[in-house]
Amino acid sequence: MRDLTQEILELIRLTSTDLPPDVELQLRKALDQEEPGSAARGALEAILTNVMMTRRNSTPICQDTGTPIFFVRYPEGYSPRVIREQIRAAIAEATRKSYLRPNAVDSLNGKNTGNNLGDHYFPTIHFEEADVDLLTIELILKGGGCENVGAQYSLPDNRLKAGRDLEGVRRTALDAVWQAQGEGCAPGFLGITIGGDRGSGYTASKEALLRNNDEANPDPDLAALEERITHEANELGIGPMGFGGKSTVLGTKITSSHRLPASFFVTISYMCWAYRRRKMTITADQVQYS
């Protein structure tokens, strides 16, 4: 296969510096909701100024360029080993170019590798060979502040009176948003997995965040629950940065996974307002970014 290192480097640059239009649109709607002169509105104004500035200057939206999480879907015949090498080379190059901050820290001795390359799990790369014609690579950059406020609940949860049903999911989601307060850089977005095991639940909750904001959930019950959670989370009044205000959560994406009879996990990944996700599609002679 051809060397895609430069094309992946462009995917990383785009993801780190150019917020997707559907996310920006949600932020603009949020701005209109907040009172003129309020700290909440001031925060959103600064956020949107920053978004325009980074797009123009090709500088990182947020200094915490996060964990790079890749989702690769490839047709039969591609080598995941080779793609991994190219992704890692692109990550190191993007770090040299200041599109990414060196973020890979050895957990035992505290040493930063300086180039964002850690062990097999850093950067995170999910591979799937699929019945597709084109290779696609999707990237999410997820910062530590919002990753730290992610939460996993094992239902039933007595404290929250959350049973093994959609009402239980609603209760845990609102609790997670309340626990997060402003620490996950609100207004945020929620990726939620119902079911799975502890590991697959977190992976699927991030995969749910790949969905576009205007892409409705095909399951009508889940679509309704997504809307309700977003709406009620905003009634908490936590607001941008936790300053108080009307916009706390700008979107919710729910997915469900099979579970063991004994387990019922609800896993919530909180994504900060700097919801950096981009996709590249590789055809025979060109690369498309979206």
Binding site: A46, M53, C62, R101, Q181
Partner: protein
């Protein structure tokens, strides 16, 4: 309505600040986050280890910079690492609550007038803000390139062996935009929002 303040800040000015006020800061400040706070604590404030020569040198250098000034919870993206012509490319705040076990003691030790970060801090820090006195300044999380523009110059860096995000960067800022969310009179916007949102949560889960 925005107050323009110079660093270092006098006690009188600190006491004149209240929760909700918009402020811009100009002058010299240092960055410090998880590794720096733990290092200060374990090496100098409640010593668990003997300082090395390098530790002593860095301590002597940053002490006068922290006195009367503020520490910025920030792990920047820095250009010019190979040439040492450092320039901040992106430099928004990191989540401050991780420094809650240390912050109050660090403020008292250096007579430091507070911290800049995001997400707010807890009761230990709030108490130190009343005593020292000090304030907590909230910067806009994620607005990293916008904030980097107010960093005029990187004067020097210490403890680069902690890694770029965790090092002590000494920076000169001009009109660095923040909001006071914890003041020296015992008020915390964060405590207020937590309490009010708890009432709403209980209503929604009733």
């Amino acid at each position: 309505m925005t107050k323009n303040l110079s660093l270092p800040i006098s006690d009188e000015t600190i006491r004149g600040l209240s929760v909700g006020e918009s402020v811009t800061l100009s002058g010299v400040m240092v960055t410090g986050r998880d590794a720096v706070h733990k290092w200060l604590m374990d090496t100098f404030i409640a010593p668990k280890r003997t300082p090395t020569e390098d530790d002593q040198e860095v301590y002597s250098a940053i002490r006068p910079l922290l006195q009367g000034s503020v520490i910025y919870h920030c792990g920047p993206v820095v250009a010019g690492l190979d040439t040492k012509q450092y320039r901040f490319v992106a430099a928004g705040p990191t989540t401050s609550i991780r420094e809650e076990p240390y912050q109050g003691d660090v403020m008292r030790h250096f007579n430091m007038k507070g911290a800049i970060g995001k997400g707010g801090m807890g009761t230990k820090t709030l108490r130190a803000c009343q005593e020292v006195p000090g304030v907590y300044f909230h910067a806009i999380g994620g607005a990293a390139s916008l904030i980097a523009q107010s960093v005029q110059k990187v004067l020097t860096v210490y403890k680069l062996d902690f890694g770029v995000p965790e090092a002590i960067w000494v920076i000169e800022v001009k009109d660095f935009p923040v909001v006071v969310t914890m003041d020296s009179h015992g008020n915390s916007l964060h405590a207020g929002v937590r309490e009010q949102s708890k009432v709403q949560l209980e209503r929604l889960l009733a």
